[in-house]
């Protein structure tokens, strides 16, 4: 093998090695960054990630917000209109946190209650987290399928939540 060809071979080999290393690193890093958005139905079905930490999304149930005067602690219920999960949070709630509006929380389960350390509401009236939208639609479709036998009619837009 002549020196030029040998050098070229080395260059190609090293380039491939570097590319492979980069691909592996990035895949691993992305895997570690998987974050699951879970709906209340999934929580009750026990369908949550192994490490216990996840994001819970849904709608803040009407008349579920509770707080004692002057306290940062707040309790509320997140619902996907099928199942409910009680949530506790301590801190400043986002501007757009409202009963009947969608919300995403991050934290872990303690018994039956979700302890959130972060609460995110949608950014403005037209914006909704796409992934939450999908999760809610999936939950609804599941219910539709279950109820198909009963031939029950069902309003696709409960509570005026327009699907974009």
């Amino acid at each position: 093998m002549n020196p030029t060809r040998k050098r070229r071979l080395w260059t190609v080999a090293l380039t491939l090695l570097a590319a492979a290393a980069a691909a592996v690193m990035i895949t691993l890093a992305l895997q570690a960054n998987r974050s699951y958005l879970v709906t209340p139905s999934q929580v009750l079905a026990g369908d949550i990630p192994d490490n216990g930490r996840f994001r819970l999304g849904g709608i803040v149930k009407e008349a579920s917000v509770r707080r004692s005067e002057g306290s940062l602690d707040v309790d509320f219920v997140i619902t996907d209109r099928l199942e409910d999960v009680a949530v506790r949070y301590s801190g400043v709630l986002p501007d757009l946190f409202r009963e009947g509006q969608s919300v995403i929380t991050e934290g872990h389960l303690e018994g039956q209650r979700f302890i959130a350390d972060e609460v995110m509401a949608k950014h403005d009236e037209t914006y909704r987290p796409v992934e939450l939208e999908k999760a809610l639609i999936e939950a609804r479709e599941k219910r539709d399928a279950e109820q198909a036998d009963d031939k029950q009619t069902y309003d696709k837009r409960p509570n005026g939540d327009a699907v974009q």
């Binding site: 990035i26 005067e69 801190g91 400043v92």
Partner: protein, 655 residues
């Protein structure tokens, strides 16, 4: 009448852009001087027409013409005049018009300040810029017309997004666009040189000042955006790795690589093909950035306009520009490299490492930004890629940059000897160690990260100053290029200190306070006075009142607000900040902590507040501004103004 005039101006601008693209390009291929001579007048005509359209849209906003759909959607009779004007670029259609205007400004500047270039080169460059203009103006006319009528006219407008009713927003988008679009000049020069087929080093020299200016504007735009997000979004963060931020950051990273690679190609002839590729990549990523912000494909704070149909147009346009230029690159680039050879230890090698790291960082950001889309498209599940991923990966890639940077200027072209670094090492390492000792003695609650911030920052700053001193000793003056480089490198040193210190020492605390109560955070006592109702021009606000004490001394009075805008009912948190170089005190008003439960509410005077103490956060933007100044200073180097003949030239960077 005015909107129709604007529409006509845009249509004419499109026709002129077609002429500006087709005739000079044809003329350059054929060597026809008359056709080539069309380029300059066409560029000026296009500038005048797009400017006219822009002014007419501004007039429609100023006069509150709610029969124009775009005005009705983004203005309101209560909106103050200065925000009516900036509302022009507050949403999709108008920001495209701004894009087109900035492009025609750059085009006009190239036409004006390139008299000394050969006619074939300048006509090809202007033709390529014309092609880009065709894409953007027809995008506007066919999918997002800012002059579309709303008949019957709306009685009242929907108002500008309150997030955008802010002084920071007045200048942030134009500056970002100056950067985005500015990379089109380097791109056009690269394409022209490939069409030309000669590919000598001259094109790099001509495009260098333009790249520097574009990069400087891009830097300024990113700094302004970061600063705006910091005080306006009320989360106290300065960078969120949000897709839109990434969209502006990728061209910046590739642009940084391009600046350095252009220096090598101009001076040594090496990396020529690589420089071409970077010029293509920088502009392609600028287009991608525009696409990310404006298509709504990626959900984000910034995606005000969500319309996939427009996304398809940009995708096709992107495919034509990127695919076309890469095809040209594949066909027209000679495999041979005419650069001078260099040893493993040389300035070329260091700049090559710089290029590898910055390109890798841009690729990493690109992958991280697009990964959620790809995972979903390939049914691999949903992922969210956020600060943990970007922060770690970016840190890994930038650590060598920070460590190697001071060596760069000291290193000579072609070959360098390791022992010549001794003076640098002695000086910069001593300075860094002294700074660390000082930090250890004076610093409070310092972590490893804070020490790293101090050490690395002083390493860069001392190393850079040591080089400046050596240069001044031997030549008694610095040329613009060197001075600009040193300023930008110092800027990075300042930036690194800001980032690592604020990340390691910053404090965030949620507190509940009744009037008269106070809370002690990081040695500062925040005393809550209460909240009052105030009326703004187009909003009502709850206005908090806090006195901040350092010991017994009152050092600041803060008034954070929570605003409810009259139209749309949007709620906005207006944080109150007491800025200083060594720390920011930052307070955001939460909500009134009424007792709630069982459907009943008992009112109270207690409020929740989020308080931040942010040490040295200003250094982040100060460092960015230094980098920007460096970019402009380098572009102003007189050497760039005498491209060929010795006769004096107009400045080539007054864009």
């Amino acid at each position: 009448m005015i909107p129709e005039l604007g529409q006509v101006a845009l249509i004419l601008a499109l026709l002129v852009a077609i002429l500006q693209f087709a005739l000079p390009l044809w003329g350059a291929q054929r060597g026809n001087a008359a056709l080539m001579a069309v380029a300059r007048p066409a560029a000026y005509a296009q500038l005048s027409l797009v400017l006219l359209a822009f002014v007419l849209l501004s007039v429609a906003f100023a006069r509150q013409d709610f029969s124009v759909l775009y005005v009705a959607n983004n203005s309101n009779s209560l909106l103050p005049m200065h925000y009516r004007i900036t509302a022009v670029w507050g949403a999709h259609e108008g920001s495209l018009l701004l894009w087109a205007l900035v492009l025609s400004l750059w085009t006009g500047a190239v036409a004006r300040f390139s008299r000394s270039l050969p006619p074939e080169v300048i006509s090809r460059v202007l033709a390529v810029l014309g092609l880009v203009a065709i894409g953007f103006i027809s995008f506007m006319l066919f999918t997002s017309n800012p002059f579309e009528r709303l008949l019957p006219a709306a009685v009242e407008g929907r108002d500008l997004n309150p997030l955008l009713q802010d002084p920071g927003f007045i200048i942030h988008p134009p500056m970002i666009y100056m950067g985005y679009v500015g990379f089109s000049v380097a791109f056009a020069f690269a394409i022209a040189s490939m069409l030309d087929g000669r590919m000598d080093r001259a094109w790099v020299r001509w495009s260098r000042p333009w790249t520097n200016v574009a990069w400087a504007f891009q830097t300024l735009g990113i700094v302004l955006g970061s600063w705006w997000a910091y005080y306006e979004l009320g989360w106290g963060g300065w960078w969120f790795w949000d897709p839109v931020e990434n969209g502006s950051f990728m061209p910046w990273l590739v642009g940084t690589a391009l600046l350095h690679s252009q220096a090598v190609t101009e001076k040594r002839g090496s990396f020529r093909n690589w420089t071409l590729l970077l010029a293509i990549a920088a502009f392609s990523l600028s287009l991608l950035g525009t696409f990310i912000v404006r298509s709504g494909v990626l959900t984000s704070v910034h995606s005000f306009a969500a319309d996939p149909a427009r996304g398809v147009f940009i995708l096709v346009f992107l495919a034509i520009i990127v695919g076309g230029s890469l095809l040209l690159y594949a066909l027209r680039t000679p495999p041979a490299n005419d650069g001078k050879p260099f040893a493993p230890l040389s300035r070329e090698t260091l700049l090559m490492i710089n290029n590898l790291l910055f390109s890798a960082a841009a690729a990493m950001v690109l992958i991280g930004t697009l990964a959620p889309l790809l995972f979903e498209a390939l049914n691999l599940g949903r992922i969210s890629v956020g600060p943990p991923f970007f922060g770690l990966q970016f840190g890994i890639l930038m650590a060598p940059v920070v460590l190697l940077m001071p060596f760069g200027p000291f290193t000579r072209w072609q070959r360098e000897y390791a022992n010549r670094y001794l003076p640098l090492l002695r000086f910069a390492l001593t300075a860094a160690v002294l700074a660390l000792v000082l930090a250890w003695l004076l610093g409070d609650a310092f972590t490893l990260k804070s020490y790293a911030g101090v050490g690395l920052s002083i390493w860069i700053i001392a190393g850079t100053l040591r080089y400046a001193w050596q240069r001044l000793k031997s030549t008694a003056s610095l040329n613009g290029e060197t001075a600009g480089m040193l300023l930008a490198h110092l800027g990075l040193g300042v930036f690194v200190a800001g980032v690592l210190l604020v990340e390691s020492l910053g404090v965030e605390r949620d507190v509940a306070l009744a009037p008269g109560a106070s809370s002690e955070i990081n040695g500062y006592r925040f005393e809550f006075q209460g909240v009052e109702r105030v009326q703004g021009p187009n909003y009502r606000a709850d206005r908090g009142d806090l006195r901040v004490f350092d010991g017994d001394r009152e050092i600041a009075r803060l008034h954070p607000e929570k605003r409810a805008y009259a139209s749309g009912g949007q709620i906005m948190t207006e944080a109150a900040i007491d800025p200083a170089l060594h720390r920011d005190l930052y307070v955001a008003l939460g909500e009134r902590l009424d007792a709630r439960g069982d459907g009943a509410t008992v009112e109270t005077n207690s409020w929740s507040l989020r308080v931040y103490v942010k040490p040295f956060v200003r250094l982040i933007w100060l460092g960015g501004l230094l980098m920007m100044v460096g970019g402009f200073v380098a572009a102003a180097d007189r050497r760039f103004r005498r491209p060929r003949a010795e006769r004096p030239e107009e400045p080539a960077e007054a864009a």
